[in-house]
Symmetry: C2
């Protein structure tokens, strides 16, 4: 995802970016070298802009972080909200959440990567981690409800099961590449297969 090639050059030697492009480059840089370690000067330098040209687009580094985290979190929350809105057994809702979460990861890879690497040193980060915590709690409640239905095994604690499944889902950001050989829809299907039915063949 490089927007650095000059295709959008507004004036000779002065690359022109719109807000979304600045945001994309910022998130990429945060993921490469860490949010705390990235200065506005680093970002300006990567973009080939002056700091003041950059401040034309965004008021602060934290605003860029907040927008990216909002993209990731609202995507995940929408998946959960949609699953809870339909009249269906908890286990079907859980299936929809797992597959939808993989979709958000592959669609919004860079913002979700940023979210998952947060260490929570600022107010924006703390608020994002709190929203993640609420999301995790709601998924755990869904796993527990599916256990009560008898559709999810009860010999693994609902909280541990949720963490393991989301550990599997979230690890996808470490290796999935949008231009790679793994199709995102097939990946969602593979995650569902492994999460719900395990590595053992069912017919065994």
């Amino acid at each position: 995802m490089t927007v650095h090639s000059g295709e959008t050059t507004a004036r000779r030697g002065r690359p022109g970016y719109d807000r979304d492009q600045v945001l994309a480059v910022a998130v990429q840089l945060f993921n490469e070298q860490g949010y705390d370690a990235t200065s506005v000067a680093d970002l300006a330098s990567r973009l080939g802009l002056t700091k003041s040209a950059l401040y034309h687009h965004f008021s602060s580094k934290e605003e860029l972080l907040a927008i990216a985290l909002e993209t990731a979190l609202s995507g995940l929350e929408a998946v959960l909200d949609r699953a809870l809105a339909v009249e269906a057994p908890a286990s079907d809702r859980l299936t929809a959440v797992i597959s939808g979460a993989v979709g958000v990861l592959t669609d919004e890879l860079a913002p979700v990567t940023l979210l998952l690497r947060l260490r929570g040193n600022s107010a924006v980060e703390t608020a994002a981690l709190e929203r993640r915590r609420v999301f995790d709690q709601q998924v755990t409640a869904l796993v527990r409800a599916a256990q009560d239905e008898g559709r999810i095994r009860t010999d693994v604690d609902a909280g541990v099961a949720t963490r393991l499944i989301f550990g599997m889902i979230n690890s996808v950001v470490e290796w999935y590449r949008p231009d790679g050989r793994v199709d995102p829809d097939l990946l969602a299907q593979d995650v569902l297969r492994v999460a719900l039915d395990g590595l053992h063949p069912r017919e065994q």
Copy 2:
């Protein structure tokens, strides 16, 4: 894991540390704020030592990193070597590798966390990432052999299955705490249950 309480104080106001204690504090600090962002001065300050007192124990920050990564990698490699040394079906070996890897994670939580967060900017890091890559390839070969035996499902690619299962295993470093309520042996059992048999009850 704090060794900062002064129990090992050698002289009044001059905490004394052995090599292992310095290493433990260093790894903790690297995990908190990132290896690149941690200076020898930061570490000396956390320990309440001068930089020269610290250099009495270790020649460089990179030496501390190298020792910690060796602990994590040799632990994981030993699990794989032990599994490959026994005469057994590939699927049994894979079971031993999954459960053994969870054991290394819970036993050596801080060094493994450091390994998993590496971005690979130095020679030590690049070498460690290469050893991780070889480990992953060997596990993928084991998954493929177990597929050939008919003991692991073949409708998920062996490479993707390995990444998903190790994604699940590795995510444990994000929430497992040695003094927490989750027993490490039961955790290894839960990971095996979810990885091999999935969330669905088998009797369904």
